[in-house]
Structures are given as structure tokens and as C-alpha cells.
């Protein structure tokens, strides 16, 4: 929507804003919890740090119904094709948050078994550092993503 080549006018910018607002306020994550970060992701979605108040009411199991993939955990060489396949199955617009040190850069495991950063496989929008990042860090990452989508910086 934000890529339309019509000159900016009142109608299109208003609709564009409305569309981006809708995208941010109901961004549903796909369950891609791999390792320890997955537990912190579940804790973020649980009652104490409620993620549903930001619109992420449900974690969709099917990638076709999700628009955010939070790669939570270390991605091994065997898992890499699966990750790509799940990313490909998601419908546009989609965003990727790389949660944790292992997903962002390979973390403390600089060895043969892990993909050194999930951005070698899928394009990443937000990197959340930590090992594992606490729920507040993850929420900060998600809210940053929502801001970026809202302002149109991440055009999809």
C-alpha cells in the first residue's frame, strides 16, 4: 500500500496510515521457537508480561496465517532449510525479528553446527540482543518494529 506511485494526497496518505495502523496493531507471530529464547518468548506471551495487549493475541501455528516470524533460538544447519520454507510460506507483508544472540549472529556458538546469524537465510527487520533477552527486551523490539512500520520506514 505504501508503495503506490500516486503522488501523495490526502486520501492516499490517510488510507496508507490506516493500513499501516492495522498492520501494526494486529501483527500475529508465527510459532518459531527453537531453544531457550522460545521459553522467554512464551513468558512474554504469558500473563506476567502480556503480549496480547499489543495486538499479538495469538501465536499462529500455520505460517500462512501469520505475518511476523520471531526466530527465537539457535538455527542449526539442519533447521535452516525449514526456516526458509516457513518464511516462504508466509504471506506478504511479513516481518522478521531475530531474537537473541544466536539468531542474530550465531551467539556464543561460533562453530560448524549453527548458521551464524539468521540474516544469512531470511531478511531481518529487528535484532533483539540478549542471551536470552528478557520479556521486556523482546517487547521493546516488537514495539520498535511497530513504530517503524507505522512511520512507513519499513515499507512492505
Amino acid at each position: 500500500m505504501a508503495r503506490l506511485s500516486t503522488p501523495p494526497n490526502l486520501l492516499m496518505t490517510t488510507i496508507g496510515t490506516a493500513v499501516r495502523w492495522a498492520q501494526t496493531q494486529s501483527m500475529w507471530p508465527a510459532t518459531f521457537g527453537l531453544a531457550c529464547c522460545a521459553i522467554e518468548m512464551m513468558a512474554t506471551g504469558a500473563a506476567h508480561n502480556d503480549l496480547a495487549r499489543f495486538g499479538m493475541e495469538v501465536f499462529r501455528a500455520s505460517p500462512r496465517q501469520a505475518d511476523l516470524m520471531i526466530v527465537a533460538g539457535r538455527v542449526s544447519q539442519k533447521m535452516a532449510p525449514v526456516l526458509r520454507q516457513v518464511y516462504d510460506q508466509m504471506a506478504d507483508p511479513k516481518w522478521v525479528i531475530s531474537m537473541g544472540a544466536c539468531a542474530s549472529t550465531g551467539g556464543m556458538f561460533n562453530n560448524y553446527a549453527l548458521v551464524q546469524g539468521v540474516d544469512q537465510i531470511v531478511p531481518v527487520d529487528i535484532y533483539v540482543p540478549g542471551c536470552p533477552p528478557g520479556p521486556q527486551s523482546l517487547m521493546h523490539g516488537i514495539l520498535t518494529l511497530q513504530d517503524k512500520v507505522m512511520t512507513g520506514e519499513l515499507a512492505r
Binding site: Q77, N110, N111, Y112, A113, Q116
Partner: protein, 186 residues
């Protein structure tokens, strides 16, 4: 039969009493349990290493010793793993089997040397079915074949992986970390 059948260097370790075993292994005299485990086997070396009972045997005797251990009361095989002693010992690999007996509340470690040019060991799946995954892992990580295993395929690495990761000549696979301001690695 030569005494040094397992091909290992004698270890000068602190706190270990090594008793070389011959035809009927002369073990620690009080230990009837260990004696009954190694009885069917020709050569075995028993040690007490840091409080653990360790029995060193020839790899061809592995299945037989496992059978006799099971009938002696070691009802659970807890772990099967391997070590790569490249450059440290004459025989490169060592397969380590850890057993546990509930009724005697004892542990036993069976250790057998495996040469590099013929890395084959009899499988223990027929005696302890739970060694299935452990042997697959040892095959995957070290390339040691277990004869008689029903499904010896890779378990942790992808099927088309080349090499055996835990061998000493397999590099860790570090990717050089690049920092923005530093000279770029091309």
C-alpha cells in the same frame, strides 16, 4: 595373548590402582560383582579411577561383557559415547559404555579401544535396546560403525553431511567475526 591388547598407553594417573587381568581377571578381591561381569571374557583390566569402576576390554568382547553385566544385575545402560585420542594414545578411539545397576546401586564403565583403520565395534542394541540412539550419535560424531545396529544413520547432522564433527581433525568451523571498522576479510 599380549598383555597390552587394548593398545592403550598405561596411564600414570593420580589415585588409580591398576590391576592387570589375565585369563581369569584378578580384580579387587572383594568385588564379586565385577568378577562375574568379566568372567566370560579372556582379558580385561580393572581399575578404580576416582571412585568409578572401570573395566578395559578388547572390542570383540564388548557384546559378551554387556550380556554378562546384564545378567549380573546391571539392568540399565546409561550412556554410550566415544573419545578421540588422536596424538595422545596409540589407538585412536575409545568407546565408553556406562552401566548402572539398580539392585546393587553400582555403576560400571566399560572402555574399549577402537583403532582408526577399522573403526568397528559390536552393537549393544540387542542387549540394551536403549543404546540405539547413543550408537547412532557416536557413528554420526566419530564415524565408528556398530555392527548389528538396526538403523545406523546420522542422527544429529543432516544426512548429506561430510565428515565426523567430534573427531580432532574436524575443525570447529569458526567463522571470523567481522567488525564494521576493522579490515574486511575478503
Amino acid at each position: 595373548m599380549a598383555q597390552d591388547v587394548t593398545g592403550t598407553e598405561p596411564d600414570d594417573e593420580v589415585g588409580m590402582e591398576s590391576i592387570e587381568g589375565e585369563a581369569s581377571a584378578r580384580l579387587l578381591p572383594q568385588d564379586a560383582l565385577l568378577r562375574s561381569v568379566v568372567e566370560p571374557v579372556g582379558s580385561a583390566t580393572a581399575e578404580r579411577s576416582l571412585g568409578d569402576d572401570v573395566v578395559r576390554i578388547d572390542r570383540s568382547d564388548l557384546a559378551a561383557v554387556a550380556e554378562s553385566a546384564k545378567s549380573a544385575g546391571f539392568n540399565m545402560c546409561v550412556d554410550v559415547t566415544a573419545v578421540d585420542y588422536k596424538g595422545v594414545r596409540r589407538t585412536r578411539f575409545e568407546v565408553v559404555v556406562n552401566l548402572l545397576s539398580h539392585q546393587h546401586n553400582r555403576r560400571l564403565r566399560i572402555v574399549t579401544a577402537v583403532p582408526e583403520d577399522d573403526p568397528t565395534v559390536p552393537s549393544l542394541v540387542s542387549v540394551y535396546p536403549g543404546t540405539n540412539f547413543f550408537e547412532r550419535e557416536v557413528y554420526d560424531m566419530f564415524g565408528i560403525n556398530f555392527e548389528g545396529h538396526p538403523d545406523l544413520t546420522r542422527i544429529l547432522m543432516p544426512d548429506d553431511w561430510d565428515g565426523y564433527p567430534l573427531r580432532k581433525d574436524f575443525s570447529v568451523g569458526e567463522v571470523p567475526v567481522q567488525f564494521k571498522e576493522s579490515h574486511q576479510v575478503q
